[in-house]
């Protein structure tokens, strides 16, 4: 019976992802990522078995990426290979010896097989619950060698989805600013940085990228016309259009969650104010009006409030403007310099950077001003940006001579260094869900 099901499934698989077995977990959520203290599970991930004809180097590349993704997902303790009953294995429902895995301390077992077929590759995984002795889930993927990164993103996300019931972050991207060309350009990379694309190449100063909620374009500010103007660049074509070029800053843009408005900083009267533009970047409406400097608006996920930085107290602090009541309230009181607010897509926290003894550290705070928590320990850390899962954060950190992009989780996982170049990589901004 079992072999029949297996054979039938084998022939059903053509491309994309198809479940190898119907999963017996029955929608069990093993890991609740919304709980304040996530219990991380012991995961066994034996070395990938080459099931035949895999082009050279691919197996290693796949394994390296998966280890990185599983680490960054921050749901597991990856077990040392030497402690596993099999260091390299292709484990199936037929050949699994649950007892030996359980005795090694394994809670979950992830087994991956790979097979090469001309210029294509077949990849499959099986996930087992070693404690309960059950098969949880599995899928087989098929695609060209060029698509391998996409497949790996899907695979990693499926594993996370099976265990948490929520979407993973490995099919999202991070936009950022790089000065590797000697100026500042906008680039987009995979979450684990193995693949990246420059989306601007104009030789000017290009800063403050912000994703459209549909994930297909970015807003950014560029000085090409000797004014900080607002542009929109489409990721697929890398074509940029000028949206707003009012004299003065058209800067620090933030698309509203419904994509219909753009909050940004524009010139006031000898200062900067927060404005709203329509989605074409036109018809500016001034939201705030006072003498102080304002910058860095960020929307609450329901689109009803905007947090931003103002120095009206004498130092930069974070304030929240309610678009319904038109009332402004101060959010941060401690610290002499609080900046770069980023409202979590879940709405429950706002991340920001605070200057302390000449360095910056990342914090989160509830939108009601309570429960301030420091996230970072080392280096100088700025520009937090939330992943769409509301758990991971990308930020820029200077731990040595230059700035690189790091990822961590709001509950203390990481940080993991994502970019590693001699140049400065700054202002990361995490895309929405892209799939």
């Amino acid at each position: 019976m079992r072999w029949m099901r297996n054979t039938v499934l084998f022939f059903l698989v053509v491309s994309g992802a198809i479940l190898v077995y119907p999963h017996k977990g029955g929608g069990i959520i093993y890991i609740d990522i919304n709980s304040p203290q996530i219990r991380r599970f012991y995961l066994a991930f034996p070395a990938i078995k080459d099931l035949g004809n895999t082009p050279q180097g691919i197996k290693e590349e796949v394994e390296k990426t998966l280890v990185q993704d599983l680490t960054i997902s921050d749901l597991f303790y990856l077990m040392e290979r030497v402690k596993l009953p099999q260091q390299e294995a292709y484990v199936t429902e037929e050949n699994i010896d649950f007892v030996s895995w359980k005795n090694s301390g394994t809670e979950f077992l992830l087994s991956v097989g790979i097979k090469g077929e001309r210029n294509a590759v077949s990849l499959e995984f099986r996930l087992f619950d070693a404690i309960q002795g059950v098969y949880v889930a599995g899928k087989r993927y098929h695609g060209s060698l060029a698509e391998i990164r996409v497949i790996l993103g899907k695979l990693a996300d499926e594993v996370v989805q099976q265990l948490t019931g929520e979407r993973g972050i490995f099919q999202t991207k991070i936009a950022f600013v790089t000065d590797r060309t000697g100026n500042k350009e906008i680039a987009v990379m995979d979450v684990n940085s193995r693949s990246e694309t420059m989306v601007t190449k104009n030789g000017s100063i290009n800063i403050s990228p912000d994703w459209h909620p549909d994930g297909r374009s970015l807003l950014y500010t560029s000085y090409q016309r000797r004014n900080p103007d607002l542009y929109q660049v489409f990721i697929s074509t890398r074509n940029s259009i000028l949206l707003s070029a009012v004299p003065g800053p058209n800067a620090t843009p933030a698309w509203s969650p419904d994509g219909k408005r753009i909050a940004l900083m524009m010139r006031g009267e000898n200062n900067t104010e927060i404005y709203l533009l329509n989605e074409q970047g036109k018809e500016p409406v001034m939201l705030t009006r006072s003498w102080d400097s304002k910058a860095s608006p960020t929307w609450s996920p329901d689109g009803k409030q905007i947090a931003f930085v103002s120095d009206r107290s004498g130092t930069p602090q974070i304030y929240i403007f309610d678009l319904t009541t038109r009332k402004l309230r101060r959010l941060t009181y401690e610290g002499g310099y609080n900046c770069s607010p980023a409202w979590s897509p879940k709405g429950d926290r706002i991340a920001f950077a605070r200057q302390e003894e000449g360095r910056f550290h990342l914090y989160t705070i509830r939108p009601d001003g309570t429960d301030v928590r420091r996230l970072t320990k080392e280096g100088s850390n700025e520009n937090p940006s939330w992943a769409p899962n509301g758990r991971h954060l990308a930020f820029t950190s200077k731990q040595g001579g230059n700035y690189d992009i790091y990822i961590m989780t709001a509950d203390g996982g990481g940080p993991w260094k994502v970019t590693d170049t001699a140049a400065n990589e700054t202002e990361p901004t995490w895309s929405p869900w892209l799939q």
Binding site: I205, Y223, R225, A295, S296
Partner: protein
């Protein structure tokens, strides 16, 4: 040429009434009028020469400047000096006000100048907030120059935030040079 014709006309305007009211005093009056006129010419000559020298010095103080990736060409003048600020501050200290008074003189002497005031910050603090701070610094300088009497239409403002440091270093010596307003000439 024009100037001597004007002088002649002025002289005639002075002389003709003298002739009509007291014909015999003509020579005396003429003599009395002539010396101050020669003196003024000398003064004006000096002044003209000084102006020419100043203009020459100003021309020599200019250097064309283009910024990579930014359209257009501007001039920098060694006569337009940078002003400096404290960390996270935009108010003008005494030195800055003195420099702006000199800047005012340059603008008053060369009325065709249209300048752009660039607000800059050091690398500390968020890039985004520093854009706001640079704007405020440049606006402070603009306000002061306007108060001194420069037409606002001759002064434009741009904030570069921390994007264009004068000194790429990462210490206070560099930072203090980077917290500045820089003045460039857009047209003259």
């Amino acid at each position: 040429m024009v100037r001597s014709v004007v002088r002649l006309l002025v002289a005639l305007l002075v002389v003709i009434p003298l002739i009509s009211f007291s014909g015999c005093a003509l020579f005396e009056k003429e003599q009395a009028v002539t010396p101050p006129e020669t003196k003024m010419t000398q003064e004006e000559k000096d002044k003209a020469q000084r102006a020419a020298e100043e203009q020459k010095a100003f021309e020599q103080s200019l250097a064309k400047k283009t910024y990579p990736g930014i359209s257009g060409e501007v001039w920098e003048s060694t006569q337009l000096k940078d002003i400096y600020f404290s960390f996270d501050q935009y108010d003008l200290n005494e030195d800055a006000r003195k420099i702006l008074a000199d800047t005012f003189k340059v603008l008053a002497a060369h009325t065709g100048l249209v300048i752009q005031i660039e607000g800059h910050c050091d690398e500390r603090g968020s890039n985004e907030y520093n854009l706001a701070l640079g704007e405020k610094r440049a606006a402070s300088a603009k306000q002061y120059l306007t108060k001194l009497g420069v037409q606002a239409s001759r002064l434009s403002v741009i904030s570069y935030g921390e994007e264009m440091p004068a000194d790429p270093g990462h210490n206070e010596a560099a930072w203090s040079k980077n917290r500045r307003c820089h003045f460039v000439i857009l047209s003259r």
